[in-house]
Amino acid sequence: MSGSAIMRPRIVEVRERVLKQNDLLARELRQRFQEAGVRVVSMVSSPGAGKTMLLEKTLTILSREYRVSALVGDLATENDALRLQRSGAPVKQITTGTTCHLDASMISAALMDWNLKGLGILFIETVGNLVCPSSYDLGEDLRAVLMSTTEGEDKPLKYPTIFNTADIAVITKIDLAAAVEFDVKAVHRNIQTVRPGMRVIEVSAKTGTGLENWLQAVSLKK
């Protein structure tokens, strides 16, 4: 009798978010950012969408008027940080090794020796990936999902989750749209299908087209 009782498993109720640790840490970060007056903007895209180039332009222009800083995530190399440091803004690389995303603990660790009060607008460039970053809250105020005109117009339909967790969508390399026969109307339609009402900004970091709209969105400039 007691033998069968041992064999029968006990059912225990749990009710825990799998990512509770990350969510708690992200909430803590958000509060620290708020207290230090830091505005945090994260940028998510697939590799090659032009995050670094847009960020380079953004840091250069905004640093004339604001304090700006950046954390950049990649699997390997410090290349992006070196490139972005040319803007004069404090920039730190987070190399994740084999990990496909940044999480709140990596942000927290990277900020350890920085004084939050001096960061102004902090940009977080995530590892190029449209899937995994959608699960991780980084404590940011604004999450921008970027896609370039050299990607398919149906990308929002293929990766609805990231479009649903982001606050704004940015179509990059808009100067190439005609050359690659990118259907701008179709992509707007597709974004609105997966996320009705989402704000979409078209930019070209190269020519400067639309940059003003992007800068206004990230800096909350009127």
Binding site: I6, R10, E16, V18, H101, C132, S134, S135
Partner: protein, 81 residues
């Protein structure tokens, strides 16, 4: 893919809960998984086996109940004794 990170989180929480309930082994962990959680079911099942190794959850089953939205929650566990 980040399913291994997710699986490690599940196993960590499950082991904490096991200790809290004074159990010895985990037989199964039941989770809710929504399509907007950004987690692939097959990859998660595969990773779960790896994540369990060397813990009290070794050899346990991950039971995935597919739901709506962004759900990614542990709802219950089967433990012994």
């Amino acid at each position: 893919m980040h399913e291994l990170s997710i699986a490690l989180n599940i196993v960590e929480i499950a082991n904490e809960e096991l200790t809290r309930h004074g159990g010895e082994r985990i037989r199964a962990v039941h989770i809710l998984l929504g399509p907007l959680a950004g987690v692939a079911k097959e990859a998660l099942l595969f990773s779960f086996g790896l994540a369990c190794e060397g813990t009290a959850a070794e050899g346990s089953h991950l039971v995935i109940e597919e739901t709506q939205g962004q759900d990614l929650d542990i709802v219950r566990m089967e433990i012994e004794p």
